[in-house]
């Protein structure tokens, strides 16, 4: 992702969110990546738009703490009201900060 280099050159820190597991139907496959900057930029995707906003917030938290997180989203999730996957599958997303 060329954006990542530009963000880092501009002094932002960057977190990567990667789909590491998919159960059932999901919009993006294992290995799909979304990058987020401390400046609030976003590129790539981990779903069809269903959970990107939630992952963005989690990524900001990872950038603050430096501690990676494993997130799990699915229709059966208690958060399904606002950030569930419409297609009924479950995805796991690993979020980590890129080294500075």
């Amino acid at each position: 992702m060329p954006e990542i280099d530009a963000w880092r050159a501009g002094g932002s820190r960057v977190a990567l969110a990667t789909v590491i597991k998919v159960e059932g139907s999901a919009p993006r496959p294992v290995g799909a990546v979304m990058a987020v900057s401390s400046g609030g930029d976003l590129t790539g995707s981990v779903s069809g738009g269903c959970v990107e906003t939630a992952v963005f917030e989690e990524a900001q938290d990872v950038l603050k703490t430096g501690t990676p997180k494993l997130l799990r989203y699915g229709i059966t999730d208690e958060m399904a009201w606002d950030v569930g996957l419409a297609c009924g599958g479950t995805i796991e997303v690993f979020v980590e900060a890129l080294p500075e």
Binding site: T18, P29, V30, T67, P68, E92, F94, E96, P99
Partner: protein, 287 residues
């Protein structure tokens, strides 16, 4: 929570360098358990970093090498000696990008080069005609070879991840290109031409002694049946057929199919690994 931060910086830079150079590399990360976020970088002749346990490293590196050959990223559970709870490790593979080898620096080839680059292909364009095979006409091409097909093929190693599109529309160029690639491990060989041209070509190649099973490999007329008219539409039709071939699919509408809608038609079990990518002998499909 321990994250090996100093080594991770070097790993990330190295990963980026290898991916940009198109060399095969895998990165394995602890995504559940400790040390969360620890990484190893697995290169063909080298391993960098550690997941915090030598035996775990060894197991993960062996799996990562197999996954790299299978071109498959996946998360796998591992037990760790002396620990009650194991870890889960995500292995992300970055195989070298596939190559699209285009014979014929024609109008369709320009759109095909542009779109194939967007799909992540390395694109090589070759044509004997100096007016056509130019940098100006193909600014996105990774390599332009101005030569006759036989000479061009001496400069190119056709690999199991080299997809071939023959677009010259002229038997004196496209038949040597076919003869020179039918005997290679290329997983896809498409040749432009009307149904009539395709029939005549087939007859000539048979007469020239090309075996029937080689002729069956040719996707001709090239492309999926989407009624493509413009060079851009033809490029989409050809690339769609190449993507389908890559995933072992026939290329029809999803409404007419069943099963998973993404990726390979069949995901073979990892442990029954072949020596290399499978070469498809199928030439049927919607075209």
């Amino acid at each position: 929570m321990s994250v090996a931060s100093t080594t991770v910086t070097g790993l990330y830079d190295r990963l980026k360098e290898e991916v940009e150079a198109g060399r095969p590399v895998a990165v394995a990360t602890v995504v559940r358990g400790e040390p969360l976020g620890a990484k190893v970088l697995v290169l063909p002749q080298e391993v960098l970093g550690s997941l915090g346990d030598a035996t775990l490293d060894e197991e993960v590196v062996a799996d990562a090498r197999r996954l790299l050959v299978a071109e498959r990223s996946e998360t796998r559970p591992y037990s760790v000696v002396g620990r009650e709870v194991g870890v889960e490790v995500f292995v992300e593979v970055h195989p070298p990008p596939p190559t699209l080898l285009i014979f014929g620096a024609v109008h369709v080839a320009q759109a095909l080069t542009r779109f194939a680059k967007a799909l992540g292909f390395r694109v090589v364009v070759t044509d004997a005609r100096a007016k056509l095979a130019t940098q100006e006409r193909f600014p996105d091409a990774d390599e332009i070879i101005q030569a006759w097909p036989d000479d061009a093929l001496e400069q190119i190693a056709v690999q199991p991840n080299t997809y071939v599109a023959i677009l010259t529309h002229d038997p004196k160029f496209d038949e040597p290109a076919l003869l020179g690639t039918l005997d290679t491990p290329a997983p896809y060989i498409g040749a432009v031409g009307s149904r009539g041209t395709t029939r005549d070509r087939r007859r000539r190649l048979l007469e020239a002694g090309v075996p029937e099973e080689h002729l069956r490999r040719i996707h001709g007329p090239i492309g999926l049946d989407i009624g493509a008219e413009t060079p851009e539409e033809m490029a989409i039709s050809i690339l769609a057929e190449i993507i389908a071939a890559r995933h072992g699919r026939s290329g029809g509408p999803l409404t007419a199919a069943s099963g998973p809608i993404r990726g390979p038609a069949d995901v073979p079990p990892l442990d029954v690994d072949a020596d290399g990518p499978i070469i498809s002998g199928e030439t049927d499909g919607a075209g």
